[in-house]
Symmetry: D2
């Protein structure tokens, strides 16, 4: 079952889980359609070996996904789900999803259901795992995009801004910004004043170069409150048009007088073929999930630690968001500005 | 001299022109900085052979660009420019640019200045040439982006919309939409009602697939007037937020009830390394421009016809925009909808 | 029916032909498996609309391919094929292939069979069409590869050689070499002595740069005869190890003393997702082929002329190979050496 | 100083080291040309801030590289190098290289010279670090190439073989093979008989698919001895043409009768722009190296552990090659064959 926002590598997890189960343990597999919706409604599809052919490199999820909560609605909750499992002779659920999905999975496991998990978030904000699949692909796409923006900036003597994903954490911005050689990286975890950002841009411009600024969608400038991100409003209460990238763009232009342009990368960051890194990680996690089910390790998920795939309790992953630590931000900040 | 919006292949033109001139004719080269501004102000840089090393694959333009008009300002106009040429011992100007640039170049050539042209437009909207460099790169980037959007659409059972460049013509939308297998392609040249667009999306959705719609930024739906594109307003006079892609997205969702998401590709379409096709075309055009200057073919530009590079009068290129002809749109339309 | 070597865009042709036929003319489609083998043996598969979903961007051919000759074997020849068509209620064959395939198609059409053609060759060596699909993808892959080789050459102060496809014609070498800024392009159509090639490499090296040489697999150096390519032998009669790229590499190193390395790109040039250019071309050709069948234009194939898709007699395409003309080679040669 | 084979990310290390040193510690930098050769000969270039502009995404090394041993020749050895450092007022050497380079660096540090190290190997075979930069790029290129080979294999019903880098370890083969969904992965660390490999290919073929086999260049089949790899000879003593990929290809074809084709990826695996992952890793390592020099941590190198950059003794990295452990190979092996 795949749940929540789609992510490159979901199909590779499915393929890894199914092939390992069939070949190592003689398991049979079905897929629940569209996340928890398929679970509570018993909407399943067969997953024979040939159904997972060639999936390692295919973006999205062949099972579909949704944001349904397994405890909501007339069919939600552990008892009903237990009946669905029994009716379909299903011995275990592999729940592939992010923080919300895993929280649901934990409650079901706590209620005695046979559930194991695979962590999934393009934002890389889950604790207990070094990286999640999909993140590397998103960084790769954002980096390529910024490599392109830079040449336009330099030809027109403009400041270029790229808004990348990251509502609550700045991992995509941090990595793609470092990779692309951005002159400022703005993330939700660390406030910067617009004056400071403008000064970084100006320093670069004054040395004859074109400033490149990457902004996570959840960045809030110093002096603005949470409502900035949450309600699309300025602190002043005036309606704010566009996202953080638009705002930062307009502010840099206003403060410095440098022609500035925003590009909001949007959905292209989460679709399409995964990178080699994500395919390997996702395949290994899928295989590990099947082994966990074989071992009846209910209430646990697999995770990456260094180069090892390990098993951890759901609770470990759900202990708050994994944010960018100050030392990583300070490390990147050395490269800001001139 | 490179002028107007930047375009992948500009540097390849410069390299082709310089290397051909140095090796075949023993020419010397200087570059005017930032388009016509550098011409009217006599702001030049040396262009020795080593300055064009490795430029074939580099996006943007090392000369910089601007939208300065060569007839404006205290230093504008043919007499002043003639003085700049004389003072710097410059025998010919190679003007690389789009419709506006070439119109300026024509006026200067008509006034007796030694000017040849190289057509440049990412939108592919110049008559007298089969293709312009940069267009293939833009199509390639837009196609890749839509390949990514599709997997997200299919995982979430959404309709995905991509807004691509094309204020006045729909070539990028037409080619990238055909390449990506879009279910509707909306371009400035041909009106479609939002009801028709919504019906195409619904047909696809009802067959269990995820609709993909590509919209050129200059598309105007049937029933709306020019103000739709020009002023960012609905016909009703209410302020319209966002561009054509946002509007189409909101309308499809409203009419069909299908969850729909827009991605505006923006500046990433015009930056970065050119495709092989564009590098070859740009290199050949650059070489041809030098030969034209050697032959004193003032008032002409080089152009692609089939596989040949030919010489045509500026007037031929300036005889209106090259729009997508009805038969090409009808050809593509066969693939719309279910 | 797809026949001969595979080529990016074959699936896009199939998709274009099938969708256009179903939607415009209410045709039904079947595919012959593995080229002419499927035709003579009546080995067919249904091709309903859903079978061509998403094919525009998929490399290879879902129909399979082979090098079977339709006139060979107990089941070959027009009478037998006519029986296969009748038995399966097939009204027309769309033959997608290169010179050999189209020659076979011509003989069958001359014998009265309902055959139309679509030109296919990754080498771009068919007359009567400006370009064939697959060629642009091959150029793109070879260009990317050479961009990579160059950085290794420069770091190690080596001469890098890339052997690309092109047994009889040098189009891939010419275009990818121009695109990558190669310092020598060696093609079957034009002899160069190894001393001349070595001198080009040395000139570049002596200016502090790393020479990049692209060699078509069918290149024969001056002083060697046809046996060089045909038999993998030196003129001296000693066995020659490896292909033209290996030979050129060894010769440059021997003559100049510069450390030189070859990379034979091989099969990666013809597989995988087609470029946007090739997808558009292939889709249009597939649609045109269906229209030709609808119009009973037997004995003809569709072709690209400028930006138009036109209909030409098979004989026009079969009138010898389309080789790189001398003026195109001379144009490229200006950029060789220092 | 960069030494040994080139590797995507070297320039990013240089950039990270220089920018961090200039901005955080007010260091000045020079680069030694061509590895240890530049060190022993005192051949240096200035490295001001502007010299490292845009280097994060550039393949190769602007310093050049060589395989010179710092202890060889009339100018080699610690005393001479100490004089070079003194003469040029150099306070520390940052040695960026693989096993050989770091062994040399260790000997110099042991002799009292101020040397810190940055681990570099495209093969990922250095102990004490989870990954080395360049490896992810190589995996990415090999994976893309195999995605392309697969479509050709499927169209022609062939078995496709890809030979990738890895003379002593199989990391590139392991990761790219998992990512591309290869049906057999053959690496130096684990012998397989050619009969077993042929059986895996046959199982896949008999299920109607096209087998894909990836072979590290250092793979030695069961029944052959070290001379197989080392001398390009078969155990029988007959000269062996080509590398491990050619051999495996010929054997599969001979044993199974399935048409089989090899592609040796070669130098394209180590050139060109690094992936986002490698750019981030290389930048962080470069910055860490400068901090180590600031802290006078001679005899140490920086390394990746999980998501942290740590400092380790040279000796830790030099304690034998990091080979693919049996459990990682067994994990991958589950996906072999049918």
């Amino acid at each position: 079952m795949t749940s929540g926002g789609d992510c490159p590598g979901l199909n590779a997890v499915i393929r890894g889980a199914v092939l390992h189960g069939i070949k190592s343990y003689d398991h049979d597999f079905v897929g629940f359609r569209d996340g928890w919706r398929g679970v509570v409604e018993g909407d399943i599809m067969e997953l024979p070996r040939q159904s997972v052919r060639g999936l390692a490199r295919q973006g999205g999820t062949i099972l579909g996904t949704s944001r349904t909560n397994p405890f909501d609605g007339p069919h939600g909750g552990p008892e009903n789900i237990a009946k669905v499992l029994e009716a379909n002779q299903i011995d275990a659920i592999v729940a592939i999803g992010g923080e919300g999905t895993l929280a649901g999975a934990k409650r079901l496991a706590d209620a005695g259901l046979p559930v194991v998990g695979v962590p999934k978030t393009i934002d890389n904000d889950l604790k207990a795992t070094d990286y999640t699949f999909g993140f590397d692909t998103a960084v790769s796409i954002a980096t390529d995009a910024m490599d392109r923006l830079r040449t336009t900036g330099e030809s027109h003597h403009r400041c270029m801004v790229a808004e990348v994903m990251g509502r609550h954490v700045g991992w995509i911005a941090l990595h793609s910004g470092m990779a692309a050689g951005a002159h400022a990286i703005l993330i939700p975890e660390h406030r910067e004043s617009m004056e400071q950002v403008a000064m970084w841009a100006k320093e670069v411009y004054d040395r004859g170069r074109s400033p490149l600024v990457v902004v996570a969608e959840g960045f809030i400038p110093e002096g603005y409150d949470e409502a900035f991100a949450g309600k699309g409003q300025e602190a002043s209460g005036r309606p704010r048009l566009g996202g953080a990238g638009d705002f930062v763009t307009q502010q840099i232009e206003e403060i410095t007088g440098i022609e500035t342009r925003n590009t909001t990368l949007g959905h292209i960051q989460r679709g399409g073929a995964p990178t080699g890194f994500d395919r390997v990680l996702a395949t290994r996690l899928g295989m590990a999930a099947t082994s966990m089910a074989e071992d009846h390790e209910w209430g646990k998920m697999c995770a990456l630690r260094g180069t090892d795939v390990v098993r951890v309790d759901f609770s470990e992953a759900l202990d708050g968001l994994k944010t960018v630590p100050l030392e990583r931000y300070e490390e990147a900040k050395v490269l800001f500005g001139r």
